[in-house]
């Protein structure tokens, strides 16, 4: 591809694009770092010794890790059933069941994206009805337990792993698996030695998206959680309270910590994935 150097007109275009991008994204994010750094190390020290903030951070990280692990397992399973879930050679009643399952899979494929389509506040509202004081299932998790937070994060992050693994699985050639099977490899061996290594990069890519989203979730928790300090308050909710109090120094420090944790998670997941891949 013969990409060009900038001529005068294109330079002007780039300039205008950069001004808009700076006003919208770069300067505001820089303002957070500047504000946080302006308070010096003492603001960070203060924030981390404040037990409410520390507990909010710990809770958010804990729930995000749990949900990410859940997504890695169930998300991969769902993607597998969507792509490879078709059984061949069934007879009689089995054939009817397979036909029905084929239709169910089409519905599942659509359902996976619902968390992206539903505004987070709507998710919070309806999950409160389902898992709150008037729960039709008798599961009174919301708004006072951490389980309710787990459900909300699991809801909003469901599509990530499924949608990163699914296309990789579709592209994966079954020839290698057939060859392994013909050489006498068992189903578990094939899964462990051939399929999983091919899927791992996608699983971890989905996992880091899911973790980052879990850390930063706000909308679905506003109504669903009582947001009481120490127990059910997450970082974003606490951050919002700082902003409301015009406590910008603490808000900027906490936002910076959140950005650093998200960045760390991406690096760690990338390292783990490389490690696992090189072991195979």
């Amino acid at each position: 591809m013969s990409a060009r150097r900038l001529n005068r007109g294109a330079g002007l275009g780039l300039g205008i694009a950069m001004i808009w991008f700076s006003l919208l994204v770069l300067l505001p994010l820089a303002a957070i770092i500047v504000k946080a750094a302006g308070g010096g190390a003492s603001t960070f020290g203060h924030i981390l010794t404040e037990s409410e903030t520390r507990d909010a951070l710990l809770l958010t990280v804990k729930v995000s890790i749990l949900v990410t692990v859940l997504n890695m397992v169930l998300g991969t399973l769902i993607a597998w059933e969507l792509v490879r879930g078709k059984a061949t050679g069934a007879r009689g009643a089995g054939r009817v069941a397979e036909w029905v399952w084929g239709k169910v899979r089409v519905v599942i494929d659509l359902v996976i994206d619902i968390p992206f389509a539903l505004p987070t506040i709507v998710a919070g509202l309806v999950l409160l009805s389902l898992y709150g004081p008037h729960s039709p299932l008798g599961l009174h998790w919301a708004p006072t337990t951490q389980k309710a937070i787990l459900v909300a994060i699991a809801f909003v992050t469901l599509p990530f792993v499924v949608r990163t693994v699914q296309p990789v699985l579709e592209e994966l050639d079954t020839d290698v698996e057939d060859a392994a099977a013909s050489l006498g490899a068992g189903r578990l061996t094939i899964l462990r030695r051939i399929v999983l290594p091919a899927l791992l990069p996608a699983i971890f890519a989905g996992a880091s998206l899911s973790f980052a989203r879990g850390l930063s979730e706000y909308g679905s928790l506003v109504l669903l959680s009582s947001n009481s300090p120490h127990r059910t308050e997450t970082v974003s909710v606490r951050l919002f309270a700082f902003i409301e109090q015009s406590n910008t120094a603490s808000a900027a420090a906490l936002a910076t910590i959140l950005l650093v944790v998200a960045l760390l998670a991406i690096v760690v997941l990338d390292l783990v994935q490389r490690r696992v891949a090189s072991h195979e």
Partner: protein, 273 residues
């Protein structure tokens, strides 16, 4: 039943049970609670002035933000793909940043720059009589921020795939930059642009956290549909559910449109090859 067969159905059962409980049941519940009082009750709620105002604010802000995004998104995509300049890699990495930042952090970032009380530019702007946050421009900025990558991510790969041959040919035949852009580039990226637009629209209509931070949240004036859902959830749940249903419905329609367009695009691609 053989072990393989029962294992297969066990996996299917787990998948279906998990999705039913986590996704489908809540979705159905939105519909059920919205129409618990019948369709006329739902219709009456939609006639309420504060509800109408919230819908109007949401639609207005989403449309402005999406239009800005489309223009800017195509512009940035062209710059990233077609030209080489220092900082190009950094720019294309930074474009994705809004996807992994908390909406509350987005709100805070905009406040630190545009707040009339303590923002870098907010103070001089407000003494000049220009208000950004707690007004429409702030809400548009917040929405643009969170939807920024959606158009660029769709358009960049298509532009890369497309290459420059056709554009060069048009230019060598005497077409101007503008003519080449409209006649050659835009028709080629049409579908990617439409996906990006619809995805941005879905995200914009449902944005909550970032917009909440930078809006004054006065009912009947500056409240968006999502912030009104929060405000009414406890004391007027029927209003909250009616708005929720509309938002969810719009979101699902957007996603179905994208799914259908993509399916059609793959099919026509298959016919060509």
């Amino acid at each position: 039943m053989s072990r393989e067969l029962s294992g297969r159905w066990l996996r299917r059962l787990i998948v279906v049970a998990y999705l039913l409980l986590l996704i489908l049941w809540p979705t159905w519940y939105v519909v059920k609670n919205t129409f618990a009082g019948g369709f006329s009750a739902f219709w009456d709620i939609l006639q309420m002035p504060e509800v109408q105002s919230a819908l109007e604010v949401t639609v207005r802000i989403s449309v402005i933000a999406v239009l800005i995004n489309v223009v800017f998104g195509v512009w940035v995509s062209m710059v990233i793909v077609r030209f080489r300049f220092p900082g190009r890699r950094v720019l294309s990495a930074l474009i994705d940043l809004p996807l992994s930042v908390s909406p509350v952090v987005v709100g805070l970032a905009l406040m630190l720059v545009y707040s009339p009380a303590y923002g870098w530019f907010g103070k001089p702007l407000s003494s000049a009589g220009i208000q950004i946050v707690f007004a429409t421009p702030g809400m548009v900025l917040a929405t643009c921020f969170v939807t920024l990558p959606l158009v660029v991510r769709e358009v960049v790969p298509v532009l890369e795939e497309l290459g420059e041959d056709q554009e060069e040919a048009a230019r060598s035949l005497g077409a101007g930059t503008w003519q080449t852009f409209w006649r050659i580039t835009v028709p080629s990226i049409r579908w990617a642009l439409i996906y990006g637009l619809v995805l941005s629209l879905a995200r914009a209509l449902g944005e909550f956290g970032a917009v909440k931070v930078v809006s004054s949240r006065i009912a009947g004036q500056s409240m968006t549909a999502t912030t009104l859902v929060e405000a009414r959830s406890q004391f007027a749940p029927h209003e909250a559910y009616a708005l929720s249903f509309l938002l969810a419905f719009a979101g699902v329609v957007c996603l179905v449109i994208v799914a259908l367009l993509r399916a059609q695009a793959t099919r026509s691609l298959g016919e060509k090859s």
